[in-house]
């Protein structure tokens, strides 16, 4: 966006863009994947469709991020031009010319949780225990 530059003006293209990678791996809260619906209307009678978030994500893994950013912006004429400065990629493959100009990184807000099978077995065994089996318990 280039908002830190003294020459910044929304209608001035100073070459700064935001690159978003790994949009395929986004996480939604709770059962949002099946509860969230995206509305679209073709303009014709009976042309309304509601597509669930997981169906949208199956079809285009960048669409949910794109719509979320689009909705968070002010609905003025500049919105569609500002959206042009957001580049979203479903995985880590970014074109070389985009990657060369990356200068900074915005860290993710929510850390990716560690899976139990990715923790070494020895560490799991030595982790302090809270629950102990009762005396008449049979292992399974």
């Amino acid at each position: 966006m280039g908002m830190h530059k003294p020459i910044y003006h929304p209608m001035n293209d100073c070459g700064d863009v935001v690159v978003c990678i790994n949009s395929r791996d986004i996480a939604l809260r709770g059962d949002e994947w099946k509860k969230r619906a995206y509305f679209h209307h073709t303009g014709y009678p009976g042309g309304a469709t509601w597509t669930l978030a997981w169906e949208v994500h199956n079809k285009d893994p960048t669409m949910i991020i794109k719509k979320a950013v689009y909705r968070s912006m002010k609905g003025n004429l500049q919105r569609r031009h500002t959206m042009e400065r957001l580049l979203i990629y479903p995985d880590e493959e970014v074109p070389e010319d985009v990657l060369q100009n990356v200068t900074n990184q915005i860290r993710q807000l929510r850390l990716v949780p560690t899976r139990l099978d990715h923790i070494p077995e020895d560490e799991v065994r030595k982790f302090p225990k809270v629950m102990d089996y009762p005396k008449d318990y049979v292992y399974k």
């Binding site: 791996d25 986004i26 996480a27 939604l28 809260r29 709770g30 059962d31 949002e32 994947w33 099946k34 669930l52 978030a53 997981w54 994500h57 929510r110 949780p113 560690t114 899976r115 139990l116 099978d117 923790i119 799991v124 065994r125 030595k126 982790f127 302090p128 225990k129 809270v130 629950m131 102990d132 089996y133 009762p134 005396k135 008449d136 318990y137 049979v138 292992y139 399974k140």
Partner: protein, 180 residues
């Protein structure tokens, strides 16, 4: 004659069945056991072997911690999880995995020894962790072991909010406007 026949039948029944009926005992005769299967020739021997619990040395209890400050209003007789006052999230798989069986199923309350509230809370968090695919090695044998191979919406990543566990009522979007 009929009385004699009935007593004869009951006597025979007792003689046959008494050997198979297991005698009840109220003492804690059974200890922590592991079922071991081995084959001796053509016979399969299933044996329950007494084993010491591997957890006793690593066990953490609130009464053993000296400088543990409990928040005000906590009742004196609480279960061990309430007494510890840990803020467990659904991503803390190292804690949650202690409460599940090897197939990822939550253990019942008579085994975990938790209070009702904690049992409910931890059970919900276990299911949250399972849905998020964090305890994929603790699943039934027919599970595909890879969250990305799941069907439909289940293959995408999700996270959970623990404050929703005891939320009795989910407020409708316009409810806060009515109360003004």
């Amino acid at each position: 004659m009929a009385l004699l026949a009935r007593t004869g039948v009951s006597f025979l029944k007792n003689a046959v069945l008494s050997t198979s009926v297991r005698t009840l005992s109220l003492t804690n005769k059974l200890n922590l056991k592991e079922l071991q299967e081995r084959k001796e020739g053509s016979t399969l021997v299933v044996e329950g072997v007494n084993v010491p619990s591997p957890r006793t040395e690593l066990l953490i209890r609130a009464e053993n911690i000296k400088d543990l400050v409990q928040p005000e209003g906590t009742p004196k007789e609480t279960c061990y999880m309430c007494a510890l006052g840990l803020d467990v999230k659904h991503t803390d798989v190292l804690i949650l995995s202690q409460f599940v069986r090897s197939d990822g199923c939550m253990l019942p309350r008579r085994i975990t020894g938790l209070c009702r509230r904690q049992q409910k809370k931890i059970g919900k968090m276990v299911s949250m962790a399972q849905k998020a695919g964090l305890m994929i090695n603790l699943t039934p044998s027919f599970c595909k072991k890879d969250p990305k191979k799941r069907y439909g919406f289940k293959k995408f990543n999700s996270y959970f909010d623990e404050t929703t566990i005891f939320q009795k009522k989910i407020p409708t979007p316009f409810e806060h406007l009515k109360n003004r």
